[in-house]
Subunit: 171 residues, 2 copies
Amino acid sequence: MGRAASARAPAHASDAETRATTDHHAALRVWLRMLATTTLVEGHVRGLLQSGFDTTLPRFDLMAQLERAPAGLQMGELSRRMMVTGGNVTGIADQLERDGLVARSADPDDRRALRVKLTAAGRKAFKAMADAHEKWIVAALGTLDHAELATLAGLLARVRAHVRTKYGERP
Amino acid sequence: MGRAASARAPAHASDAETRATTDHHAALRVWLRMLATTTLVEGHVRGLLQSGFDTTLPRFDLMAQLERAPAGLQMGELSRRMMVTGGNVTGIADQLERDGLVARSADPDDRRALRVKLTAAGRKAFKAMADAHEKWIVAALGTLDHAELATLAGLLARVRAHVRTKYGERP
């Protein structure tokens, strides 16, 4: 039917319009799906951290950033590296310090600044949480095979790089 | 080199292990990338809504859910449909009602319940925000062509369906 119609009339403008509208809707639909999928997975991760470890996602995220920085981080850098928003980084670090999981000390390279690090207890607590978290993520994303995971990673990386280049880091 | 090594020794167990570790890391890496990409895009969307419309993402999200439900929604159903977490739905609805953008009235099918709807002013305000939002999303995701958007949508849908089936809706 499409072919018959296009044989009858010069439908170029209208096709382009339809395509543009379809593309607009496709981009918006993909974004809403990305948001819904992330929110769904994140909700389960929050539940897992709460029920299994009596902790929160921002606490886990903060410890994950420190685990990747054995020399510790200044608070500003730590804030910038956090993956989840919401929650005041100083407040979370204060709680973790009271629980003995992180420690603050003078930065050897910058005496006016403090550096925050995981303690030995913090590294141990983080390891248990990170193992459970990884296991759950593997089960959640395990419906995709290796090639599909690589495709998904590549497409997300393209979107991320494009947004960073065009609009900068998140405001 | 890989071929020479595997010709020398039965490396099956170690290959399987490497593959499992690689797959685990792949799933975790994809999830961290999904989280980072969503957080980045969401941060820009929050900035756009704030600077362009002096509004927040939860307010926009609430209005978007109502725009898709012209007959209005009961509060419980509205909460369930929200795509972003954080922010108390009743409080947001109260603010929007004070601003004349939503209205609450008795539900004709259930006299004990209230239904919340967009007002005419709410629909108009939402339309302006939704147009700007869609334009920005199209620019942000526009680095992917039509086929890539479809691939990304399909992979996200698979993850979402799998998580819902296996673990249920977000807790």
